[in-house]
């Protein structure tokens, strides 16, 4: 289970101290598929960054499964935990343009010092899972938007993470492709993965099991 208790986060901008998260309480069960919505400035990106260990919090408690994430988590430790427990899917895919689909998917395993053969074997399996088994050697510029996002999903899954965090994963896609990508997420969810999707699209949120609404740095419901 993932739980946040009384999470506060401040930023300083132009010598003004902004209180972005004001005591966020949140719990997500293992294997749950949830969406986070909120208006601009509600703190949803900050919340996602804290959940994804890309940012630290100032006050509160964060429990990621059996691991307690401290407020002053070191950069090295955060990198290790991200690599082991969290998979990321971004709106703009963020695939490395000079690596093939297979190499992009395998990249997180490189940072676990896993050998090339083993990395490629697992990457091939995952590309099969997302329906791109025939496209392993394609470069990102040879793939459509939906295919790129499926490669990104495969990359997020390759370390067998506890949780997949998706930041506006369908924001750059047309409606038909959005359906394809959401179908992949649902398929992944069926395998028991916890999925958190940040979105501003209601029809995407409706496809998840639970909607978490953020307003003014607090969870409204």
């Amino acid at each position: 289970m993932i739980s946040l208790e009384g999470i506060h986060k401040h930023y300083t901008s132009d010598s003004r101290r902004l209180h972005v998260l004001k005591g966020v309480n949140l719990s997500i069960d293992d294997g749950e598929m949830v969406s986070i919505m909120g208006s601009s400035g509600s703190g949803k990106s900050t919340l996602l960054n804290i959940l994804g260990l890309l940012d630290t919090y100032d006050q509160g408690a964060y429990q990621l499964g059996d691991t307690a994430i401290s407020a002053g988590l070191s950069e090295v430790k955060a990198a290790q935990l991200r690599n082991r427990f969290i998979g990321f899917v971004f709106q703009s895919f963020n695939l490395l343009p000079f690596k093939s689909a297979l190499e992009n998917v395998a990249l997180p395993l490189y940072y676990q010092k896993i050998g090339r053969k083993a990395r490629n074997y697992r990457a091939e399996k995952l590309l099969d899972l997302v329906g791109l088994g025939e496209r392993t050697k394609n470069m990102p510029n040879e793939l459509s938007g939906g295919q790129k996002q499926r490669v990104a999903i495969a990359r997020a899954l390759i370390t067998d993470p506890r949780m997949v965090l998706a930041d506006e994963p369908t924001g750059a896609l047309d409606s038909a492709t959005t359906d394809d990508v959401m179908a992949v997420f649902k398929e992944v969810h069926r395998t028991g993965k916890t999925i958190v999707i940040v979105t501003h699209e209601h029809d995407i949120a409706e496809q998840t099991e639970r909607l978490i609404l953020l307003k003014d740095g607090q969870v409204e419901r």
Partner: protein, 418 residues
């Protein structure tokens, strides 16, 4: 450990901007190339200058100079010192720092040419008296027969060693001169060998155009028993010629009643002084070469650092993504450093090899066209290694700032670029 993925990425980054990579690498290449070339050229000039000493790097020559400058101990000013063989014998007894003191005479006076006859061929050449040890200390090597030995000198044998240019002029090509006779100023001498200067220099032709005979023979056969032309003093090992020069001049002034302050009565030439001047000059030139070349190299390395800053800027998003996927600061820094080192080490190595190849080419041309005044242009192994080590260290230093910037990339900011 060999990391294929990292090398692939480095190859990709470098090949994506071929012109930029090429120009950056050229800066480093040029720096190390210039370093090798300047040091090699400096060594060549230095060796050429040193060769002119023909091995005489610590020898003192004394001869009779101008009339005396001062009246002294009853002798009037303006007297020309009339020295003789006693001067040699006195110095042999009293000059503590000397290993050898020998007199050198030339037939007919200094550099006077003599009519030399061999059969129907003849020519005019300088005939100089010599000593067995002169061959060792003057850079002469016998190319036929032998040099004057101690027995020749002691027994005042009428033997002669021809300079190679003399041999060419008065003998048929391929004719063996050893054992044949020549006439010097009407007296027959048996040829025992032909010599050639060991080191080619602009003085080689002059040195190789002499006839050397035992000085004892010259003095006896040509009525110069008491006369000496000049004295050649070789200091003992570890003793400087400058020290011996001062002692010898003091002793000679005392012996011939010359005022101690007189600076012209005796002429002298100290090869060590000139040798040290030449060495100091070329050491200075060497230091200047290092300064210029290191400056060029520094500019090249700064170029690498600058390009790496641009690379980091371009790769900000990629670095952010890698961090989000689990890359540590160490792996990011390692990637940037490795990339810069590939450029510096590869370009530097090519510069080093090209520089050495150009020096080799110059060496071949110098030998082919027999250009005097230069030694073989080369740099020693230690210098080459030092240059490479300097290159690698400066490459590392140039990468510190870009690597630090790369390590400091915040994945949140980087991934929000869009």
């Amino acid at each position: 450990m060999w990391d294929m993925d990292r090398w692939q990425e480095i190859g990709h980054t470098l090949s994506r901007h071929k012109l930029r990579t090429g120009l950056t690498a050229f800066g480093v290449f040029w720096g190390i190339f210039m370093l090798v070339l300047l040091l090699g050229a400096g060594n060549s000039l230095k060796q050429g200058a040193i060769d002119r000493f023909s091995g005489n790097t610590n020898t003192l020559y004394i001869w009779i100079g101008s009339p005396t400058q001062y009246a002294y101990k009853g002798f009037a000013k303006g007297r020309r010192v009339d020295w003789n063989i006693d001067a040699r014998d006195m110095l042999r007894k009293k000059l503590e720092g000397a290993q050898t003191v020998v007199e050198i005479n030339e037939l007919g006076g200094w550099q006077a040419e003599q009519y030399i006859v061999h059969g129907k061929r003849s020519g005019t050449f300088v005939a100089r008296g010599t000593h067995p040890e002169v061959a060792i200390n003057s850079g002469y090597a016998p190319i036929k027969g032998r040099f004057v030995n101690a027995n020749d000198y002691a027994q005042k044998r009428k033997v002669a060693v021809l300079g190679v240019e003399v041999y060419k002029q008065i003998f048929e090509p391929n004719e063996d001169p050893v054992g044949q006779s020549i006439k010097i100023a009407g007296i027959h001498f048996m040829i025992i060998g032909v010599y050639q200067s060991v080191i080619a220099s602009e003085n080689s032709y002059r040195d190789d155009s002499r006839i050397l005979i035992p000085n004892s023979t010259l003095r006896t056969a040509f009525n110069q028993t008491e006369y000496i032309g000049s004295l050649r003093i070789k200091p003992k090992n570890g003793v400087s010629a400058a020290e011996v020069e001062e002692q010898a001049l003091t002793l000679l002034k005392e012996y011939y009643y010359v005022h101690p302050q007189d600076t012209t009565a005796f002429g002298y030439y100290n090869t060590e002084k000139n040798y040290m001047k030449v060495v100091a000059l070329f050491n200075g030139l060497n230091a200047f070469s290092w300064f210029v070349a290191l400056g060029t190299l520094l500019a090249g390395v700064i170029g690498v650092g600058n390009i790496m800053l641009i690379v980091v800027k371009e790769k900000t998003r990629e670095i952010g993504l890698r961090k989000a996927l689990g890359a540590t600061r160490g792996s990011i820094v390692g990637l940037i450093i490795q990339e810069a080192l590939v450029i510096t080490a590869l370009a530097g190595y090519i510069g080093l090899v090209t520089g050495v190849a150009v020096l080799e080419l110059f060496a071949v041309l110098l030998i082919k066209f027999d250009i005097p005044g230069f030694g073989v242009p080369s740099i020693d192994f230690t210098t080459a290694i030092l240059a490479l080590v300097l290159l690698i260290i400066s490459g590392l230093l140039a990468t510190l700032l870009p690597a630090h910037k790369a390590a400091a990339v915040n994945p949140i900011t980087a991934l929000q670029d869009d």
